[in-house]
């Protein structure tokens, strides 16, 4: 049986009907058709589905949709600047050649954003720790770490 829930998605209040067995990822991609958030493994291993819930990076593939109720959720679609430009993290990834196939990128951006929102000047270890749960098959991570570092150092 469907249940009504209300939550904040990218600063907009959403009211929608959900099946309690859905994950947050399913609601985002299949129902709301916001396909920026990716599904890789579906088991919490790869981080492609990372979103920010109440300020913290979370794997949306393991997040019961019913827990979205009343919480504040940000996805990759919600981080564009008001001017319409890319977020500084996205710009840095582009500039550092840190995007190849791009499948891991939305998750990487959300993990990095959660870190930078929490810690203004993270160390390299903080950066590596923040993306340890984000798999990338293409880049070898070095450019991704450099990109996040450049944002952290540049502000």
């Amino acid at each position: 049986m469907k249940k009504a829930i209300t939550f904040t998605l990218n600063n907009e209040v959403i009211e929608t009907e959900v099946d309690p067995k859905w994950t947050l990822l399913y609601l985002l991609r299949e129902v709301l058709e916001m396909t920026g958030t990716k599904e890789g493994c579906g088991y919490g291993e790869c981080g492609a589905c990372t979103v920010i819930i109440n300020g913290q990076a979370v794997d949306s593939c393991l997040y019961p949709v019913m827990e979205a109720e009343g919480r504040k959720i940000t996805t990759i679609e919600g981080i564009m600047l008001k001017s319409g430009e890319l977020d500084p993290i996205q710009q840095a990834l582009v500039q550092n050649g840190a995007v190849q196939c791009g499948f891991c990128t939305p998750g990487m951006v959300m993990s990095a954003k959660a870190l930078l929102d929490e810690k203004e000047r993270p160390t390299e270890d903080d950066i590596k720790d923040s993306i340890a749960g984000n798999l990338c098959r293409c880049t070898g991570y070095v450019n991704i770490v450099d990109a996040i570092k450049s944002v952290a150092g540049g502000r």
């Binding site: 249940k3 099946d19 309690p20 067995k21 994950t23 579906g42 088991y43 919490g44 291993e45 981080g47 990372t50 913290q56 990076a57 979370v58 794997d59 593939c61 393991l62 997040y63 019961p64 019913m66 827990e67 109720e69 993990s111 959660a114 870190l115 720790d129 923040s130 340890a132 749960g133 984000n134």
Partner: protein
């Protein structure tokens, strides 16, 4: 996936009542074990009872020891400087558990109640003498964590009972603890062996702090060699081992052999040998039994060294990665 109802009680009593009333039900906290099992179709049920919205299950209380609510996330434990300083083994374990995304939602109660032989917080809670606080329809009861684990995914919880939290005694400056997770990868890996240790040094006999100038840069072996005539006597010690038996276990013979002895590297080497005789690891894809047994010797010794290190120079070793 089969459909289920999802309940969000606000109090413990409500949660316990729901569990009593509903058939085919399970508690879900962070869901990082439960959701995986559901998605892999290894678990089918009609009702999920969420513990995520019960405020009374989330606490870190530092009066007379340490009390941690079962729905406290690993991230909250990692961030706590008091836990890092006085209950270091727990910080070691939560720091390297899963990924940031997992730690942000996964809870210590879920880790213990899932009762995997590899559960990272099990050894720390065993060496820190945690009591499991259980709440049911009839009230509250307490169980030693050592009596709580019954086997793989089996715990001493009656139907309808819920774990409220874990309470640990107070430890002073004369106690150090550590947990070492032996993995193939540095991140996102379950331990092929997990070793926890705690040492409490007898106070009064000698100065336990290392004050010599070399202390901040020297290896713990050298520091111990120089401190030999201080005769640091072990008042109490614990050793716990993960992934060497169907459940996380204490190496009780090794613990007994430490009691009353004077700290030395040689002693720790002998203790490692004793602990290895108490370990019954199996062959698995993560590592073969003989290798695991050999590593028990090394890691028990290392965990004891790290524990004593944290007693003699707490300020320097509080960030262990630098030295080990």
């Amino acid at each position: 996936m089969r459909s289920y109802e999802y309940y969000k009680p606000q109090t413990m009593q409500e949660a316990v009542g729901l569990m009593d009333r509903l058939e085919d039900a399970k508690f879900i906290a962070g869901g990082t074990d439960v959701m995986v099992l559901l998605r892999q179709k290894k678990l089918a049920l009609k009702n999920l009872i969420s513990l995520r919205n019960i405020g009374d299950l989330v606490y870190i209380d530092k009066k007379d020891g340490l009390k941690i609510g079962s729905a406290t996330t690993h991230t909250e434990i990692v961030k706590d400087e008091f836990i890092k300083r006085f209950y270091s083994a727990l910080n070691d374990a939560t720091t390297h558990l899963g990924s940031r995304q997992i730690r942000n939602v996964a809870t210590v109660g879920g880790n213990i109640c899932n009762a995997a032989p590899s559960a990272d917080t099990a050894c720390p809670l065993l060496v820190l003498d945690a009591k499991v606080i259980i709440v049911g329809q009839k009230g509250e009861r307490e169980v030693d964590i050592d009596d709580f684990f019954l086997g793989p995914n089996k715990i001493a919880l009656e139907r309808g009972e819920i774990v409220k939290g874990f309470h640990m005694p107070q430890f002073g400056d004369n106690t150090g603890s550590a947990y070492i997770k032996h993995t193939r990868r540095q991140a996102m890996d379950l331990p092929m062996i997990g070793i926890g240790a705690r040492i409490t040094i007898k106070i009064g006999k000698s100065e336990v702090r290392c004050r010599d100038a070399l202390c901040t840069i020297d290896t713990i072996s050298n520091v111990l060699a120089r401190l030999q005539d201080e005769e640091l006597e072990i008042e109490d010690a614990r050793i716990a081992m993960g992934v060497v038996a169907p459940r996380p276990i204490r190496a009780k013979q090794a613990e007994a052999a430490l009691k009353g002895k004077v700290v030395s590297e040689k002693l720790f080497r002998e203790i490692g040998e004793i602990a290895a005789t108490e370990a019954q690891p199996r062959d698995s894809i993560r590592g073969e039994a003989w290798y695991r047994k050999e590593m028990v010797k090394v890691l028990v010794r290392r965990a004891l060294m790290r524990s004593i290190d944290r007693v003699i120079r707490p300020d320097d070793t509080i960030y262990p990665e630098r030295l080990w």
